[in-house]
Amino acid sequence: MIYRYFFSNKLIQSDIKWPFLPSSTSKSTPDINISLDKSIFPKKDINNSRDYYVINMKKSIIHLKNKAYIEISDSGKKISVNIFQDKIDDTLSYKIANQIIPYSVYMQGGFVLHASCITALDGCILFVGRSGTGKSTLASSFLDKKILSEDFVSLEESGGDYLAYPTIPFSKISSNIITKFGLNNSKNIKLDNDFRARNLVEINNFEHTPKKVLHCFFLNWGDRFSISPLPSHEKISHLLESTYNAFPLGSCPQSSKNIFNKISEFIRRVKVSKIARKKDLDFSNNQNILDSIS
């Protein structure tokens, strides 16, 4: 059985059914092939006690402890998966959608960021920042806006602008946020090994069409709410931390050069600012964020 999906502007073909990926009826040549390969295993000398990633533009390997061993080759076009469990659980399926496919897009020369993205005006805005800076929570707090992507966003240059492509309509947030915003709790999925014990919650107000990026905000905690400009070197530094890139960082010179070019182009075309906010659940400054979009 062959399954086809269209996800993050890529046509994907697989002999495995992946629950989170949106189906496609397109007959075009796929951009990514995912196939089950029971003959591939992690090398014996790697640390098998935790997840393991080696990412570069030629070949990437990912070992998801007790779940699967994955190789991405052919410049990101081929993904081989050996699954170590009886059935594909939600955590593995989510990781295929939100980690493996983004790495495949990166290997194909794409520009992929860890970010949350919501619609605003006639486009969208990105929230970027380190893990734990509240990207998903802030995105979810804009109750009258649609969420376009969560966890990662694939960006493509188009006529001098950047388009952000929708991902999967699920958000990774903690239970107190689900309660605070009264989010849909009917499809609430528990993720294995999430260090902040967050759940996956289906997003009701999901945007399914790509949108032009109007502004990118870096999130940070601070004593009070503020929005401030950033010098170019800080924009580059923050974006480097948030980009799907070679891992270990700097291990692939070609990748470093490509990412540097992409980030440089991005910051020339998209306004980038820093948001500092108190670490609480006060979202009364959300309108200030929307007002700052240029």
Partner: protein, 84 residues
């Protein structure tokens, strides 16, 4: 001794500063206005210190000689400029 910009370095210029990526060391460097002018003069050529200073004086008079020396030494230490 002649110096030139390393082929492992890539420069992007922005309104507020120039940034250099050295893929040999995998380090990023923020370059001030004086540095950007020196790199602009050096371009892809190979020059001695004296040739470079003469050219800088010609195109950007007013740059402090000691500042130029310090910048060039810094660039050599960081493998952004290399001997040729």
């Amino acid at each position: 001794m002649k110096i030139k910009l390393s082929s492992k370095c890539f420069i992007e210029q922005f309104e507020d500063e120039s940034i250099i990526l050295n893929i040999e060391t995998n380090k990023y460097h923020s370059i001030n206005d004086c540095g950007a002018k020196i790199i602009d003069v050096l371009g892809s050529e190979s020059m001695s210190f004296d040739e470079l200073k003469t050219k800088i004086d010609k195109f950007y008079s007013g740059l402090n000689s000691q500042e130029i020396d310090t910048f060039i030494k810094n660039m050599l230490d960081r493998k952004i400029f290399i001997e040729s």
